[in-house]
Symmetry: C2
Subunit: 389 residues, 2 copies
């Protein structure tokens, strides 16, 4: 009982990420969904349930009840269609629940799709909507925003471990270097350490290049029972381990703001399920909503020792030719961060590497990849470990 059936990703599809004034939320979702169906050579009526990750569609666009609104547009009529919301980990959470249903034998084939349409609102309004992922009545009403929360985390990390502004900037430089090679990335632009260090301050010590982008986009995968995977694709990708965990939504409820217990919990469970440790992960897509978030994630996932992530990054350890490549896609920083799409987009990026289809960004070692999707300032985390079959 429980996770009995091996689960495989048999199709993946994404829209480019960016600002697309002419494309509504549903059009973006349908584009990604149709690409995933085509990739799996799968007809819409083979899909038995629809799992949608979306953070704030109603606030960004007015439209709620989004799951059947999208599934019917994809020609998948009548099936259970449900929206999952877990802040920026919304589509990671949708993927986790879809995995559970397939791995327990309830469904043979389902679609998981993440979407967000953010750029139709002003930056001020986007910031306000995003504040809903934190503690609205307390921290946010008191004037905090996500940049200021992560700025506090960065400052504490610097104080406790000797992390520097250069370390943070090294994350941005690396992710831009990778994203410049990604045809679907929102900001395909190489930047220098000097540019990253000297850009406009947002919430010190974070400046413009420490922050991810406001984006429109969608991403979808089709997952099936492992023994059926080769009906759909010659390159199935196996889900080796997965877990979702939670923690306080408010940063001020945490004993130590330089570590996220939800990430540690999800990682521990996902590693145990996969029978793997951090040293066996070939590459990872981490949730770099801010540069400091990538560093904290590296530590919470056990990739490096506590307080070492900045040094490791500045030494080039997480570059594409480093010991552990991180965010070879460009990450949220350069690829873009349509919040509800991000979890599935990370999984699509891991799938692309595992299949050896990442073009100029293709990594040498690409047998086992990890995706880490964070909600808010650590209230939710989903960790997924994928491998070549």
């Amino acid at each position: 009982m429980g996770y009995e059936v091996d689960v495989a990703i048999v199709g993946a599809g994404k829209t480019p990420f960016g600002a697309f004034p002419a494309e509504g939320l549903r059009a973006l979702a349908v584009e990604a969904g149709e690409k995933a169906l085509a990739d799996a050579q799968c007809a819409p009526d083979a899909i038995q349930a629809f799992y949608l990750g979306n953070f704030a569609g109603p606030e960004f666009t007015g439209q709620n009840h989004l799951a059947p609104y999208i599934s019917t547009a994809l020609g998948m009529d009548g099936i259970p269609s449900t929206r999952f919301e877990a802040a920026c980990a919304s589509s990671g959470a949708a993927f986790f629940h879809a995995f559970m249903a397939v791995s327990s034998g309830i469904y043979d084939c389902v679609m998981v799709l993440g979407v967000e349409k953010m750029t139709s609102q002003s930056t001020a309004r986007v910031t306000e909507i995003l504040c809903g992922a934190g503690d609205w009545a307390e921290e946010m009403r008191a004037g905090s925003t996500f940049p200021s929360l992560f700025a506090m985390i960065a400052r504490r990390h610097m104080h406790d471990f000797g992390t520097t502004r250069e370390h943070l900037a090294a994350v941005a430089v690396k992710n831009h270097e990778n994203g410049a090679l990604n045809p679907d990335a929102q900001m395909r632009k190489v930047i220098t350490l000097e540019q990253a260090m000297n850009s406009k301050p947002i919430a010190e010590p974070l400046n413009l290049y420490d922050c991810s982008l406001i984006s429109d986009g969608a991403a979808a995968v089709i997952i099936s029972a492992g023994d059926r995977a080769r009906r759909y694709t010659d390159k199935p990708v196996s889900v080796l381990g997965i877990a979702q965990a939670s923690d306080h939504v408010a940063l001020d409820q945490k004993a130590d703001i330089t570590t996220f217990p939800a990430v540690q919990r999800a990682a521990r469970k996902a590693y145990a399920m996969a029978g793997l440790g951090p040293q066996e992960i070939d590459f990872a897509e981490l949730h770099d909503c801010f540069t400091i978030a990538e560093l904290v994630a590296m530590e919470d996932l056990g990739f490096v020792g506590r307080g070492r992530a900045g040094f490791f990054t500045a030494d080039g350890g997480s570059r594409r030719n480093g010991a552990l490549p991180i965010n070879a896609s460009g990450g949220l920083k350069s690829k873009g961060h349509p919040v509800g799409a991000t979890g599935i987009a990370q999984i699509c990026d891991v799938v692309q590497q595992l299949r050896g289809e990442a073009g100029e960004r293709q990594l040498k070692r690409h047998s086992i990849g990890l995706a880490q999707n964070l909600g808010g300032s650590g209230g939710t985390c989903v960790v997924t470990i994928l491998g070549q079959e």
Copy 2:
């Protein structure tokens, strides 16, 4: 594989429904959750996952990322905590997914909670937020609201089947009669057929007493694997059948607006799983967001023939002493309709009857009960059949 484990409801708790200016969304949720824990004599740390149904908390209150925000306040730290949104069927959908995880052996014990805090907004703003459950860019932008959509359904039902204003009013009179006996109901007031017929028009042929209420409230249940149920309670309630189905969100995409395919699909599956037919259901809690919705649901669930629900109701067939009591709780009409709480509240009301704990509203035959939770104008439906163990 699949639904292998029998699933039981081992605890249930609700807040009263009404307008509670002093109580925030989280306080309401915590009250219901703590009541359910107490009812199951269950410690928070026995709960392995948290399933939250909520439709529009972010729009009503500013707070998003609601699942860990609530689960941590209930002392359930670290566990997977996820919000499910499916319009007015949000907590029905949460219950369906929780059921799947327990019935497949992944978890032994989880909490499902529904909550909505609506009365802090103006009626105009509430109406606008609710419009997000329909097709915002098309029908709603063109001036429709939910009362006007259901008014069209009512008018068509009258035209096709001879349903009358008296039939609709009979639904309201019956549900108020029941709700007057429910200490947790928002509107505990008996009304006459004349009052119902002559109240203020909202969207003709629907008037004030044809419409459900704007409410604050929360409801929670704890479900466990059946073989563990008696650790928690002497009166476990079994989930005999359950299904979730979907359809177009826009009413104008439906071939026939007097029937909801999502209800028929979910009912067919739930009956098949339970090995029961509509004639074996002793009583039901139906989604009477408008009086006409109760009539259409009765027909789609097979309780009466097509077009017969109005006549059956006017003849008293769905009163507490009738052949098939419907909404003995008072229904959404009198009990209140805090949207995201409604699906679990219906389940709590069925549980109360099955346990024989419904006081003055207790029905004579109470072995098998059905709850039907509708999203929007039929885009989502969850049907749950519960029985005494």
